[in-house]
């Protein structure tokens, strides 16, 4: 089989602590304006007076139906934006094979902490049973597929923090191999007790706003949100006269096999993922405007990434966006993909929020101010627990 390696993005949407659309989120990134707060009221933990997180503002989910989880609601909102941008409704894809691939981490786990607590206390209620039934019935991608009445394949990717990037990469492949005419893809995640306490107990969270690639970085801030992209094949795009927000051009993935929570120190798996994505895309290094780094601001992540970038993508500007959005776990790769496409289309590369002081050990200085860009391609990567690495190559809307 031969492939064009150029899958158009017809529409995209985003909901996160920085904003309730892709444009607003991008502006939030530019202005370092985000809902960065202590999660009192959302999370029950003794740490809520100390460790802030990047939350979707409550006004954005005041209309959330009671029978939807936050992860479901965030993704549906982002997906509706993506469809609004295309100018078509989901029903207009009825004659097409439409797949759904979503990356997430919290929802696909046993996300039933209050119920579990009730059970341990011998106080399981009929309401709890109803919630458990809902949990059994609603694998995320399948639920979204049902919601929009799509009839193609669906997949919930649970490669932890690389899930969003994997979802987009796999969606590209589903279209190129003819499995689908269109794929609604992206990532979504929400903050609950488990990731909130878990990252704090792993000693990788910081009470301060995170500082990717900075000498003074002290760790991560987790966040929540979703981003959705509607990818189509060229024929569908032409038939339905869909707009183009950009392209997904390459996808690479490789594992480290190194450590449960830390990447390979040399970023070996990441180097392999980046190399594969680049080769697949056919994009030349000199045409890449920037790398959107995973940039969690943990010591290990930023060190491994800097080595991988200096080896595979030397001298290309690096932008870390988690100082603006937080680390949105399974949604991160998708949110960063839509922000990267927006940056390419606006021809404006944002500063790395939080970065102040170069770390001589990293040999990498990320973007320190907003910069006009002319090149039309970008790379976005994600790293995850368990040594999973994923990378995608993106093109601006005018590269075809």
């Amino acid at each position: 089989m031969t492939f064009s390696n150029q899958v158009p993005v017809a529409g995209m949407g985003c909901l996160c602590a920085c904003g309730n659309t892709v444009a607003n989120a991008f502006n939030g990134v530019l202005n370092a304006d985000a809902h960065f707060v202590l999660p009192t009221g959302r999370v029950t933990s003794t740490y809520t007076n100390k460790y802030p997180v990047f939350l979707v503002p409550p006004r954005e989910y005041k209309d959330k139906p009671a029978d939807m989880t936050f992860s479901q609601f965030f993704f549906i909102e982002a997906a509706k934006q993506a469809f609004a941008q295309t100018g078509i409704s989901p029903q207009q894809l009825d004659s097409k094979r439409v797949g759904v691939i979503i990356g997430a981490s919290v929802h696909p786990s046993f996300h039933c902490f209050p119920i579990y607590r009730h059970w341990k206390e011998g106080k399981l209620s009929t309401q709890d049973i109803a919630e458990l039934k809902k949990y059994l019935a609603t694998p995320l991608a399948q639920w979204v597929s049902n919601y929009f009445h799509f009839e193609g394949p669906f997949q919930t990717v649970v490669t932890a923090c690389a899930s969003g990037t994997d979802a987009i990469g796999l969606a590209k492949n589903w279209i190129e191999t003819g499995l689908c005419d269109a794929v609604l893809c992206g990532g979504t995640d929400e903050i609950t007790e488990s990731p909130y306490d878990g990252f704090i107990r792993l000693l990788v969270s910081t009470p301060q706003r995170c500082r990717p690639f900075c000498k003074t970085r002290q760790g991560i801030n987790i966040g929540e949100g979703a981003a959705a992209l509607l990818l189509t094949n060229q024929k569908t795009a032409q038939q339905l006269k869909l707009p183009c927000q950009g392209y997904v051009l390459g996808y690479g993935n490789a594992c480290d096999g190194f450590h449960p929570t830390a990447p390979d120190p040399q970023g070996i798996g990441l180097q392999k993922a980046l190399s594969f994505a680049l080769k697949e895309s056919g994009v030349q290094l000199q045409d890449i405007a920037f790398i959107n780094a995973h940039g969690t601001a943990s010591q290990a992540n930023d060190s491994a990434e800097s080595i991988a970038f200096n080896t595979i993508l030397p001298h290309i500007p690096v932008w870390g966006s988690k100082g603006a959005t937080g680390h949105t776990l399974g949604a991160a790769g998708a949110i960063e993909a839509v922000l990267s496409l927006q940056a390419l289309n606006k021809r404006l590369l944002p500063a790395t929020v939080g970065f102040t002081t170069p770390d001589e050990k990293l040999k990498l200085i990320p973007t320190i101010q907003h910069t006009a860009i002319e090149k039309r391609y970008a790379v976005s990567d994600s790293l995850a627990f368990g040594g999973c690495n994923a990378a995608i190559v993106l093109g601006a809307s005018d590269v075809a």
């Binding site: 796999l170 488990s194 306490d197 594992c255 798996g269 627990f385």
Partner: protein, 264 residues
């Protein structure tokens, strides 16, 4: 038309991997901190890889496509237990790290020296289908030369207890209440081209959606949501016959067609 998949090794495990079984492949002491589902997955993977007769150098170019229906439940519950019983300030970071879906795939990549792509699918009973689709994509995109497709499923004591009290409590998600709760795991080594040891060829692997979730067939398994398809596949492979397998789950249909492979 997506390519056929060739099965070069297959292993299925009902229950838990025992230390003596693992000792045939690995220093058991090195697994002392591993969760049981990881040990189960690892034993199946070792056995499937032994059948596939791959050189160790092939492992670096091998992918992992893993299905895990409801995640690493034992660790997830252990972490929640530690919050409830000890308070969040003393909750277990080790249990949290092990609770992510990737913790199992890490054991595979670390112990088997696999360095290719790795994607995990977690969507209850439809997980195995997702894992097959991903493996197919890895191969057709030349992301690796072989894929280790692994399924491992944990048990959920909360659900088991409720079902034992009332077998219809989660209708339409009915599981066989009288069967003992046990973990299930399996591994297949697949490639896009036949090898000298290819046992089976899968001509078709397809997942489609259905609207009516109440008409799904009843998995004859206790709370092992994504293992049903694997056990059916095991049955067909053991029979060494042509088969067409169509499993209807909660909202989806997995369709697999296959036959024994005869080396010409």
């Amino acid at each position: 038309m997506l390519p056929k998949l060739y099965i070069n090794g297959f292993s299925c495990l009902t229950g838990d991997a025992q230390p003596a079984e693992l000792a045939a492949f690995v220093e058991v002491r090195s697994l002392r901190r591993a969760e049981q589902i990881s040990k189960n997955a690892l034993l199946c993977a070792y056995r499937a890889l032994a059948q596939a007769k791959l050189d160790k150098t092939d492992h670096a170019n091998m992918g992992i496509s893993m299905a895990i229906g409801a995640g690493a439940l034992a660790s997830t519950l252990k972490f929640m237990d530690s919050i409830i019983e000890d308070g969040d300030e003393l909750s277990s970071p080790t249990a949290f790290a092990s609770s992510v879906h990737n913790s199992v795939s890490l054991m595979l990549s670390m112990f088997l020296h696999i360095k290719g792509p790795c994607v995990i699918t977690g969507q209850m009973d439809a997980s195995l289908a997702g894992a097959f689709l991903t493996a197919q994509q890895f191969l057709v995109r030349n992301m690796c030369s072989h894929v280790l497709v692994v399924l491992t499923e944990d048990i959920n004591p909360l659900l088991i207890e409720q079902i034992q009290k009332d077998s219809k409590v989660f209708d339409p998600f009915i599981y066989q209440p009288q069967a003992p709760a046990m973990r299930l795991s399996g591994a297949l080594v697949i490639s896009a081209e036949p090898t000298q040891v290819t046992q089976f060829v899968l001509d078709k692997v397809q997942l489609s959606r259905i609207d009516d979730v109440t008409t799904h067939s009843q998995p004859q398994l206790p709370i092992c949501s994504c293992a049903h398809g694997l056990l059916l596949l095991e049955k067909y492979l053991k029979e060494n016959a042509v088969f067409s397998m169509q499993e209807q789950f909660s909202g989806s249909i997995l369709h697999i067609e296959g036959k024994p492979y005869v080396l010409l």
